[in-house]
C-alpha cells in the first residue's frame, strides 16, 4: 500500500490533524492532474444506463460540494477528481462512485424506514447507517460483479491511507473512525482504548453476521441502531468525519423530499365515482347496475348515484323508467361546429374521436403563419459556436452525396455486361429468346427525397435544460441540419406548430420546400419561439397534404417533440394520442414515412402507439440534439 502524505503535508492537512472533524477543504491545490467530470460524462452516463437498465441522470456537484451524493433521482459527482497520480485510476474511482450511489438508489437505502432523527445524536446515527449500508452495498456489488472487486480494493487502500489521525478524537468519533478503517482495511487500528476496542469487536461480529445472509437496507437500519446505542454510551461530542471518497455522503433529508415529490406525482388520481344506475327490485335487491337494455324483471325503482350519499330516485315501483343520460364527455356536449368567422382564412381538418370511432368533421381550424425574423446575428453565432461540429457533419454528409452506381443488365449503357452476354448466348443456343439487356449503365444514385421537419413550438419548449432553453437547442439543430443539407439535393422544409384550442391551430412556416436556404430562412429560424399548446393532429394533416403534392420517391416527416400532444380544450390523454395516431396513419397511407425524435423520457408510454416500435428515438440529453439530428437524418435516408 502506498501511503500518500499529500494532505498531511499541506496546510489544510495539518489543520485536519488538529481538528479531525473538519472536512479537508477541496481548494487545496491537487498534487496530480485532475480528471474533469465533463471529460468522462458521456461514458459514465452510458455505463450507468447499462448498469441500471434505465437512465440515471449524472450531474457535476458544485465545487464546494466535492463528495458524491444522490437525492435518489440524480447522482451528483465531484466536478473533477485528482485522487490518484494517473487519470485512469481517477476514472475508475468515478465509476465506483456511480456504482455505489446507484446501488443505494436501487438497493433501498432511502426507502428503509428509519427514525434516526428522533435519536439523541442523529448525525452519529446517520453516519453509522451510511457506514453499515456502504459495507452491505460493497459486498453485494462485489458478489454481483466480480470485476468490481479489484476497483474496490484499489479505492479502499487509497481511502484507508487518507483517513485522519486518531489522536485527539473524542470517544464516539474514535469508535466510528475505527469502524470506517475496519471497513476499508479489514483490520482495527492499533492502540485503541480497550473500552472502544470491545465495542468494535462486537460491531464487527454483528456486521459479519448481517452480511452472511442477503441483507437488506432494513437490516442495515437495525444494525445501525444497535451500533448507535453501543457507541452513544461512550460519550463525547460527535462531529462528522471526513467522507470516504468513493462512498461519498448520505443525504437522507434530500432523498426524502425527492421521494415525497415522486410519490405525490405518481399517486393515482382520485376521480369522483362514475355515475351508477341501479335498477332495484321490490325487495330491495339490485337487479342490474349501470345502463342496460334488458332487465329480467321490471324494477321497482331506478336509482342514479354519483356520490355514495347522493341518490336520486327517478322511477317508482312497477313503473318502467326510461332514462337518458348524456354520458358523452361534457366538453363535446357544449361544443359546436366552427363558425364562419372561425373558419375564415383557415384550412379546416377533421379530428378523430376514438370513443366514437369516428371523425368529428371539420373540427379544427389551422392557419399558416410566417415566423417573424429574429436577430440577424443569431445564425452567425450558432455557426461560430458549432463550427467544428459543422465540419464533421459536412464530412459525414459528403459521403451521402449521390455517386455513380453501376447498374448491370441495362438495355443500353457505357459498358458491356459480360454476365448477361454469356447468359444471352446460352439462351440463344438453347433456342430461347435472349434478353437485350446486355449493358452496364452508370447512373447517378438519385436520392429523390423530400423531408419535412415539424417542430413542436408549444410553451414547454421554453423550458430550460442545463442553462439552455429547449427552443434554442431546437433552433441550433435546425441551423446545423440546414448546413448539412446544403450538400445534398434533398428537398426539405421546416415548419413549427402550436395551438390554443381547435379553433386556433398555428402552422409556422420557417422554410418551405421550394425555398432555398436563404438569409430570410436563417432569420426565421432565429425568430422561432415557444407559443402555447400542442395539438398535433392538424399540423400533421396539413403537412401530409403539402407532402402529397410533391413528387418524390421518398417522403419523410420528422417530428421534433418535447412531450405528449395536449391542448386545453380537452385534447389530452388518450383522446389526443389517438387523434395524433390517426393523423399519422393517414399520412402513412399517403406513402409518407414518419419518424419522431423526442426529448420526453416518458415517451415510451405513448410513442410506440403513435409511431410504431422503430419509428421514434428518445433523446436522453437535449443538449445532444444538434449532434443527433444530422446523425439521425443520415441514418434514416441512407440506403
Amino acid at each position: 500500500m502506498v501511503r500518500r502524505a499529500r494532505r498531511a503535508s499541506s496546510g489544510t492537512g495539518r489543520l485536519a490533524a488538529l481538528l479531525p472533524f473538519l472536512r479537508p477543504k477541496p481548494s487545496a491545490a491537487p498534487a496530480f492532474p485532475a480528471l474533469p467530470f465533463t471529460a468522462v460524462e458521456k461514458v459514465l452516463t452510458l455505463f450507468a444506463i447499462g448498469l441500471a437498465g434505465a437512465p440515471v441522470p449524472l450531474k457535476a456537484a458544485r465545487p464546494n460540494d466535492p463528495s458524491p451524493f444522490t437525492d435518489s433521482a440524480t447522482i451528483y459527482l465531484p466536478p473533477a477528481l485528482a485522487e490518484f497520480p494517473d487519470l485512469e485510476s481517477d476514472f475508475r474511482l468515478y465509476k465506483l462512485m456511480v456504482a455505489h450511489q446507484w446501488a443505494q438508489i436501487s438497493g433501498g437505502t432511502f426507502e428503509a424506514p428509519n427514525s434516526f432523527v428522533t435519536l439523541a445524536d442523529p448525525v452519529l446515527a446517520i453516519e453509522l447507517y451510511h457506514l453499515v449500508e456502504s459495507v452491505r452495498i460493497e459486498t453485494s456489488l462485489c458478489r454481483q460483479f466480480r470485476g468490481m472487486a479489484a476497483d474496490f480494493a484499489l479505492a479502499k487502500a487509497d481511502a484507508a491511507a487518507k483517513r485522519p489521525p486518531l489522536n485527539g478524537l473524542p470517544p464516539r468519533a474514535l469508535a466510528t473512525e475505527g469502524l470506517i478503517r475496519w471497513s476499508l482495511a479489514g483490520a482495527w487500528p492499533a492502540d485503541l482504548p480497550r473500552k472502544i476496542g470491545d465495542v468494535l469487536t462486537d460491531a464487527a461480529l454483528v456486521l459479519e453476521e448481517m452480511l452472511a445472509g442477503n441483507a437488506t437496507a432494513t437490516d442495515s437500519v437495525r444494525v445501525a441502531t444497535y451500533l448507535f446505542h453501543r457507541i452513544e454510551r461512550l460519550g463525547g461530542r460527535f462531529h462528522p468525519l471526513p467522507p470516504v471518497h468513493f462512498r461519498g455522503v448520505l443525504r437522507l433529508e434530500l432523498a426524502a423530499s425527492v421521494l415525497e415529490e415522486r410519490r405525490r406525482r405518481e399517486a393515482p388520481i382520485v376521480r369522483p365515482p362514475d355515475v351508477v344506475v341501479e335498477y332495484v327490485s321490490q325487495n330491495g335487491q339490485v337487479l342490474k347496475t349501470r345502463m342496460t337494455d334488458e332487465l329480467d324483471a321490471a324494477p321497482s325503482k331506478v336509482v342514479i348515484r354519483d356520490q355514495p350519499a347522493n341518490d336520486t330516485v327517478v322511477g317508482q315501483e312497477g313503473e318502467e323508467a326510461t332514462i337518458w343520460l348524456d354520458l358523452a364527455p361534457k366538453r363535446f356536449a357544449t361544443e359546436v361546429a366552427l363558425s364562419e368567422a372561425e373558419r375564415e382564412g383557415a384550412a379546416v381538418y377533421d379530428e378523430w374521436d376514438y370513443q366514437r370511432s369516428a371523425y368529428k368533421p371539420r373540427w379544427c381550424a389551422l392557419r399558416e403563419r410566417v415566423v417573424a425574423p429574429g436577430p440577424p446575428e443569431y445564425v452567425d453565432g450558432v455557426l461560430h459556436k458549432h463550427r467544428q461540429l459543422i465540419a464533421t457533419i459536412k464530412r459525414q454528409f459528403d459521403a451521402l452525396r449521390p455517386e455513380y452506381r453501376r447498374l448491370p443488365r441495362q438495355p443500353d449503357g457505357e459498358e458491356i455486361d459480360l454476365d448477361s452476354v454469356v447468359e444471352a448466348y446460352a439462351d440463344l443456343s438453347a433456342g430461347v429468346t435472349p434478353s437485350e439487356a446486355l449493358y452496364i449503365a452508370r447512373h447517378a444514385n438519385r436520392r429523390d427525397i423530400a423531408v419535412a421537419f415539424l417542430v413542436d413550438l408549444s410553451g414547454s419548449a421554453g423550458g430550460w435544460v442545463n442553462q439552455q432553453r429547449i427552443v434554442d437547442i431546437e433552433r441550433e439543430s435546425l441551423v446545423l441540419i440546414c448546413e448539412a443539407l446544403q450538400l445534398l439535393n434533398d428537398r426539405y422544409a421546416i415548419y413549427g406548430f402550436s395551438s390554443s384550442t381547435r379553433k386556433q391551430c398555428d402552422f409556422f412556416i420557417i422554410k418551405d420546400f421550394h425555398e432555398p436556404y436563404t438569409n430570410d430562412v436563417r432569420l426565421r429560424i432565429g425568430g422561432m419561439n415557444p407559443y402555447s399548446y400542442t395539438r398535433m393532429g392538424p399540423p400533421i394533416r396539413h403537412l401530409a397534404r403539402k407532402l402529397d403534392q410533391l413528387d418524390a420517391r421518398v417522403k419523410l416527416l420528422i417530428l421534433l417533440s418535447d412531450g405528449k400532444p395536449n391542448d386545453f380544450d380537452g385534447y389530452t390523454g388518450r383522446y389526443a394520442i389517438e387523434d395524433t395516431r390517426q393523423a399519422l396513419v393517414e399520412a402513412r397511407l399517403r406513402g409518407i414515412r414518419t419518424f419522431c425524435l423526442t426529448i420526453d423520457s416518458r415517451a415510451r408510454e405513448y410513442l410506440p402507439q403513435m409511431f410504431g416500435e422503430t419509428g421514434y428515438t428518445i433523446l436522453d440529453h437535449v443538449e445532444r440534439l444538434p449532434h443527433r439530428l444530422p446523425e439521425l437524418y443520415r441514418r434514416l435516408t441512407a440506403r
Partner: protein, 271 residues
C-alpha cells in the same frame, strides 16, 4: 457472377440434430404451418437464433434445407435458374428456389429485405394457394409438392426507414417473433455451444444484459447470442475472458468511442 451467388447458397440434408432450445411454442407453430403449407417469416434481431431454428426444423421435419443469403444484386434468375454453356452445349441450371421446389425442400431466404424488390416478386405465386413457380425460359410451371416450404427472415430493427418489406410481400407470411433469450436459456445455449462453465456463461449473459440496456441509447443492435457464443469459444480456447469479451462484444456492436468505452467498463465490471 453465378459462381459468386452460388457460393452464397448452402444446401443441407441433416443427419444430426442441430442444437436448438425452444423458448415458446415456435416448434409447434412452425410444424403446423408446414402441415398446412403456409409460408413463414421469422422476425427478430440479428444473432438470436432464427437461422438455427430453421435448421433444427428442417431436421425435425426431415426435409433438406436450402438457404439463400439475400443481397441487393440478387436477380430473379439467381433464384430461379439460367442457361449456361458447357462444352458448346447449353445446359439449364436450376436456381436454389427452383431446386427447393423440385425436391420438396425448405427454402430459407435469409434477410429478405436486402434483395431487390423485383426479385422478391417471383416468390409471390409460391406463397399463396397456387403454390407454383413459373420458369419463363423453360416455358415451365412447376407446382410445389406438399413438402416444399418457404421461410424468410426479416429484421425490422436495424433497417432504415427506406428499406422495408413491401406489405404485399410480408402479408403473405405467418410471422414468428424472435427475441433475445431469457437468461437461463441463453446461459444454457452458451454452455452447450462452447463448453465453458456456467459461471462464465452467466457472466457473459450479464454483460449482454447490461449492453442491451443501451439499446436505443446510441446502440442500434446490442450484443446477440451469436456474439456471446463467439466470446465463449475464444474463452474455451484459452483466451482471457476480458480479452475475449472485448473482441466479441465491443468492436462488432459499436463504433462510437464513448460507447465502446462504456461497454468495456461494463465488461470489466462484470468480469
Amino acid at each position: 457472377m453465378s459462381e459468386l451467388s452460388q457460393a452464397r447458397i448452402e444446401r443441407y440434408t441433416f443427419t444430426e440434430e442441430p442444437y436448438y432450445l425452444p423458448v415458446g411454442n415456435e416448434i409447434a407453430v412452425f410444424t403446423a404451418a408446414y402441415q398446412n403449407r403456409l409460408p413463414v417469416m421469422l422476425k427478430g434481431p440479428t444473432g438470436c437464433g432464427k437461422t438455427r431454428f430453421v435448421r433444427h426444423m428442417a431436421w425435425r421435419l426431415g426435409r433438406p434445407l436450402i438457404t439463400v443469403a439475400c443481397h441487393d444484386d440478387l436477380t430473379a434468375s439467381d433464384l430461379v435458374g439460367r442457361y449456361l454453356i458447357k462444352g458448346g452445349e447449353t445446359v439449364w441450371v436450376d436456381g436454389p428456389l427452383t431446386e427447393a421446389v423440385r425436391h420438396g425442400a425448405i427454402c430459407y431466404l435469409d434477410e429478405i429485405v436486402e434483395a431487390r424488390k423485383d426479385t422478391t416478386v417471383v416468390i409471390h405465386p409460391l406463397t399463396d394457394d397456387r403454390r407454383m413457380l413459373s420458369i419463363e425460359k423453360l416455358g415451365e410451371v412447376i407446382e410445389a409438392p406438399p413438402e416444399f416450404m418457404l421461410v424468410i427472415s426479416y429484421n425490422p430493427g436495424y433497417q432504415s426507414l427506406l428499406k422495408n418489406l413491401k406489405h404485399s410481400t410480408r402479408q403473405r407470411f405467418l410471422a414468428i417473433e424472435f427475441n433475445f433469450l431469457p437468461r437461463e436459456l441463453e446461459i444454457e445455449v452458451i454452455c452447450h455451444e462452447t463448453g465453458i462453465d456456467r459461471q462464465l456463461a452467466g457472466d457473459l449473459v450479464t454483460i449482454a444484459e447490461k449492453i442491451r440496456n443501451l439499446r436505443d441509447k446510441g446502440l442500434e443492435e446490442p450484443a446477440s447470442t451469436r456474439l456471446l457464443v463467439y466470446a465463449g469459444h475464444l474463452i474455451a480456447s484459452g483466451v482471457d475472458p476480458r480479452a475475449a469479451s472485448d473482441v466479441a462484444l465491443v468492436g462488432p456492436i459499436a463504433d462510437d468511442a464513448d460507447m465502446q468505452r462504456a461497454i468495456r467498463e461494463l465488461i470489466s465490471t462484470v468480469l
